[in-house]
């Protein structure tokens, strides 16, 4: 159970940090009706994740809890919550913004470091398997084009893309 915080010890500027991010702009419209939570397929299965709670914690400025916890990485981006939010809060996009903040703070699951390495090396997050190639052929789809890795890396470095550090396995 997360502990309850009073306004005094909450870092209020965190919500501003989120609303100034691309994707985070709509955060403050939330009035905690919980439509997102009841729309969420993950929240039913995993008590660590509740979109309403993530929004509330962001509004109250619970930066540490959000950035070091697992919750924000559990969203499947199904956008059910976003479709149904009566206040047009772009909940999934807010979670992306939070992930970006967490990643910059060095708090991302190791799989993201693997993704980044793959992207830099091959231009793809997921390598194309023989299976996929075969299937495409079966369906009459053209083979996937090779990525211009060098050009992609130019773009990545120009946009400030940073590869997250892998953390030591501690558990």
């Amino acid at each position: 159970m997360p502990h309850h915080n009073t306004k005094e010890n909450a870092n209020m500027s965190f919500s501003e940090e989120v609303t100034h991010r691309h994707g985070g702009e709509t955060l403050t419209a939330c009035y905690q009706c919980g439509t997102c939570a009841s729309s969420c397929p993950v929240a039913r299965l995993d008590a660590r994740f509740n979109p309403r709670e993530i929004i509330k914690l962001s509004l109250l400025g619970e930066k540490q809890e959000i950035l070091t916890g697992d919750a924000i990485w559990l969203c499947t981006s199904c956008f059910n919550c976003q479709e149904r939010c009566p206040q047009d809060v772009e909940i999934a996009d807010v979670i992306y913004a939070l992930r970006n903040i967490a990643l910059e703070a060095g708090n991302s699951p190791n799989i993201y470091a693997d993704f980044a390495s793959a992207l830099i090396a091959d231009g793809r997050i997921v390598a194309i398997s023989k299976f996929v190639e075969k299937k495409r052929e079966e369906y009459g789809l053209p083979p996937l084009k090779a990525v211009h890795v060098e050009a992609l890396n130019t773009i990545l470095s120009a946009t400030g893309f940073t590869k997250p550090e892998k953390k030591e396995a501690s558990q």
Binding site: C33, T35, A43, N50, R52, P86, Q87
Partner: protein, 806 residues
């Protein structure tokens, strides 16, 4: 015309001004101004001996123009104008200026500079006074009659009030029966009494005490001598002016003669047609000839022409004992001439089928609060039983879903304000009648803000009604269980609940009644963004509109509970009565005049006029000129500021009067700073200047103020004229866009200034020398800041060079 003889009355406000300003210098200065016939100094001129001095000078024939320098002119000029008028001089031949708040106090650190500015202000007032013309009083007769549109709780009460006061009242209702949404609601909070109960009219001879309330059907409502009721009737068009509206009404046939029907019901017994009863939310069928409920008003059967088979059947005609049924009735056009119109068209439930995830149009057991109210009503389709419409079985488990379509940016962003109370009331009524019913209310916030309202919430908890803090995401149909499932998270427990329900009741949002937008178009009224009628001023004039003589009441402006609708109805009746009672509109002819020699064929002013006071009239076959309707013209001058041909002038703010003021204000500088001229609207702009002075905020004396009726009157050529006369920068100070006293003036001025800046560039003038500011009275500090900012800006830019200057 007689030569102007100006009397100048200089008040030192009990020496507080003469401590700062050099009054001897002022007197000497004024003495040498041509046409000044009299100078008087005193401590105050707006009452007592001071005012008597003005009156005596007028009566003695010494003066025919009055200039008074007095503090608080907005207060004192009322008194002065009245006294001047009583003395036999037109009250518009007076100019009152404020040497305290506009000069001595804000510039008290530089008394010499303040004295120079005071000279300029006095000169400006004198030059303006010389050019002032008398303004006549206009009178327009008004009819002592009113039309009330909408026969719900608000419209009926307004009708009773106005009829009791002796006005001829016409009440029209679109439906065949009165009562509107309220009648369908069954019972009302916070009194828990029934919805069809109204205050008895005073014509009811059996009313024993003034507290008497009665059901509409026995209230004598229809027998009020000067009230006529038209049902099945809608407004088609409205012509005319305030006090004399010609209204065309389309009255659809009822097919039953009101004077003959004895409400025996034999017609309905023989009628073979069964059609869904929309009054009862289609929970039952009714006949094609029907009453909504037995207690309905008027007590006359009506035929539903979409369902009736007419001559093919005509069984009702054969059976009617009084020959009251006339299947040959036709739609009639009725014309009414009324002085005033009250709009009481109300609101309706939002169509919940828009919210796809609630499956309102798919699952019969998902209903709305209004539909539940029909079930609760003993006269309703189920005789008071709460059932599942899908199979008619009793509903044991009931879940209410609040904010269905309200507080939702996808549909209606506002809180409909009454649905929490409606759900609490309905849930309690159901629980009271069915103690073993399991009731839950899913809510975002429970809002019970009125007197006695919180008690409903308390009572509901006491009764065992459960509250779930959460807005459901979806309503499912569990076919195996034969139940609906409401999928909701209780945010307080952070637990997901799948609430089983026999019946789900949506607290549907409340939206404007059908036809609101069309009626607004017919009446020339504005709607708010939420689609409801817009009041003239939500704070102070909640039942008035921008059109004189047209009023709003009840749910037409926003969803209301019964007490608020009543309050609104009585307020609208009072406003309409106040308008109608004298039988005439009296107003000053401070209106726009068209110079027909210049005017021609453009459509700017009729489009821009916020009051629809200007129309285009043909003079020859292919030439149109603008005509001003003096009843409608409110004297803002937005048309003047709009006209591309300088063909419009506003009485009392004519261009020559404004030029004389401007030239005088800029003729004397006396400071080391560049002259800045501020056009201030007489409403918020000019009073913001007052408040900066009253609070003794300082800004430099080079800033000169010219009062205009509205920022919208200022023309671009007047701004150029100001630069020519010596202004180094020009400020336009108007009301906030939403708070403009003339609806659009401030917004139009702002747009115009943006264009003017482009034009200034063409003339080689830095556009920074012009700026528009919007403020309210209390923002005196903003004015002082703006004045300083413009002074600094002009100083930085250096002396203005106009084309042609060497």
């Amino acid at each position: 015309m007689e030569q102007p003889k100006v009397g100048v009355f200089l008040s030192d406000c009990g020496k507080q001004l003469s401590d700062i300003l050099d009054f001897d210098a002022l007197t000497n200065f004024v003495k040498n101004v041509p046409n000044v016939a009299l100078i008087a100094r005193g401590s105050e001129f707006w009452r007592g001996n001071g005012l008597k001095a003005i009156v005596d000078a007028i009566k003695g024939g010494k003066i025919n123009r009055v200039v008074v320098a007095e503090s608080l002119p907005k207060l004192s000029e009322v008194n002065i104008a009245q006294a001047v008028s009583d003395a036999g001089l037109n009250s518009y031949l007076v100019e009152v200026i404020d040497l305290k708040d506009h000069c001595a106090w804000p510039h008290r650190s530089a008394p010499a500079e303040a004295t120079e500015k005071a000279k300029a202000m006095l000169l400006s007032a004198i030059e303006r006074a010389k050019l002032l013309e008398p303004i006549e009083k206009l009178e327009f007769p008004t009819l002592k009659s009113a039309l009330i549109i909408g026969g719900g709780i608000a419209g009926m009460q307004t009708a009773v009030d106005l009829a009791d006061l002796g006005f001829e009242v016409n009440l029209i209702e679109k439906a065949p029966f009165l009562g509107g949404l309220a009648a369908r609601a069954g019972r009302f909070f916070p009194t828990d009494d029934c919805a069809i109960c109204i205050q008895s009219p005073s014509s009811d001879v059996k009313t024993i005490t003034h507290t008497s309330r009665k059901c509409v059907y026995r209230s004598g409502f229809s027998e009020i001598p000067n009230l006529s009721i038209l049902t099945n009737a809608e407004v088609v068009s409205v012509e005319g002016v305030p006090g004399n509206y010609k209204v065309t009404i389309e009255k659809k046939p009822r097919y039953v003669d009101a004077d003959k029907c004895v409400v025996c019901g034999k017609c309905a017994e023989v009628c073979p047609v069964e059609t869904p009863d929309e009054y009862n939310a289609n929970l039952n069928n009714r006949k094609a000839i029907y009453l909504n409920v037995p207690t309905v008003h008027p007590q006359i059967y009506a035929i539903d022409e979409d369902a009736c088979k007419f001559q093919e059947c005509a069984k009702c005609v054969a059976v009617c004992p009084t020959n009251a049924i006339d299947l040959g009735q036709q739609t009639e056009q009725v014309t009414l001439n009324v002085g005033s119109i009250v709009v009481a068209t109300g609101f309706k439930e939002f169509d919940s089928s828009n919210i796809k995830e609630y499956h309102y149009d798919e699952y019969p057991d998902v209903i709305t609060n209004l539909e539940l109210a029909r079930m609760i009503d003993g006269f309703g389709p189920t005789g008071g039983k709460i059932i599942r419409p899908s199979d008619g079985k009793p509903a044991k488990k009931i879940v209410f879903v609040q904010c269905a379509g309200s507080r939702d940016r996808r549909y209606n962003p506002y809180c409909s304000s009454i649905c929490c109370m409606i759900s609490l009331k309905n849930a309690s009524l159901v629980k009271e009648a069915n103690p073993d019913a399991e009731i839950s209310i899913c809510y975002i916030d429970i809002r019970t803000t009125g007197r006695e309202h919180e008690y409903y919430y308390e009572r509901a908890r006491d009764m065992g009604i459960k509250f779930v803090k959460g807005r459901p995401t979806e309503i499912y149909n569990d076919e195996e269980k034969g139940k609906l499932i409401v999928d909701v998270e209780d945010a307080l427990l952070k637990r997901f609940l799948d609430l089983e329900a026999d019946l789900v009741v949506l607290a549907a949002a409340m939206v404007p009644a059908e036809g609101t937008a069309e009626l607004a178009e017919i009446l020339g009224l504005d709607l708010e963004a939420d689609g409801f009628f817009k009041e003239y001023n939500a704070k102070l004039r909640p039942t008035e509109t921008k059109k004189r003589g047209i009023y709003l009441c009840g749910g037409a402006t926003f969803p209301k509970d019964a007490p608020t609708a009543s309050l609104h109805a009585h307020s609208a009746a009072m406003k309409a009565a106040k308008f109608l009672t004298s039988g005439k509109i009296v107003k000053d002819q401070r209106t726009a005049i068209i110079n027909e020699d210049y005017c021609g064929d453009c459509e700017f002013c009729p489009v821009m006029c916020p009051y629809g006071a200007i129309t285009l009239e043909p003079t020859t076959e292919d030439h149109f000129v603008a005509k001003v309707n003096e009843i409608l013209c409110e004297g803002c001058g937005v048309c003047v500021g709009t006209c591309p041909l300088n063909a419009i002038e506003l009485r009392h703010s004519r261009p020559n009067q404004m030029s004389a003021q401007m030239n005088a204000l800029l003729s004397v500088n006396g400071t080391s700073k560049p002259l800045v001229l501020a056009f201030c609207c007489q409403e918020c702009g000019h009073t913001a200047v007052d408040s900066s002075g009253m609070a003794k905020m300082e800004y430099p004396a080079n800033v000169r103020i010219i009062k205009v009726p509205c920022a919208g009157i200022v023309r671009v050529n007047q701004i150029l004229e100001a630069y020519k006369a010596g202004a180094q920068a020009v400020m336009i100070v108007g009301c906030k866009t939403d708070g403009c006293h003339y609806e659009v003036g401030s917004a139009k001025a702002e747009k115009k200034m943006d264009m003017a800046k482009i034009l200034l560039k063409e003339y080689g003038i830095e556009p920074e020398r012009l700026e528009m500011f919007k403020m309210v009275f209390i923002e005196g500090a903003q004015f002082a800041e703006a004045a300083k900012m413009m002074t600094e800006r002009a100083a930085k830019l250096g002396t203005l060079k106009l084309m042609g200057d060497s």
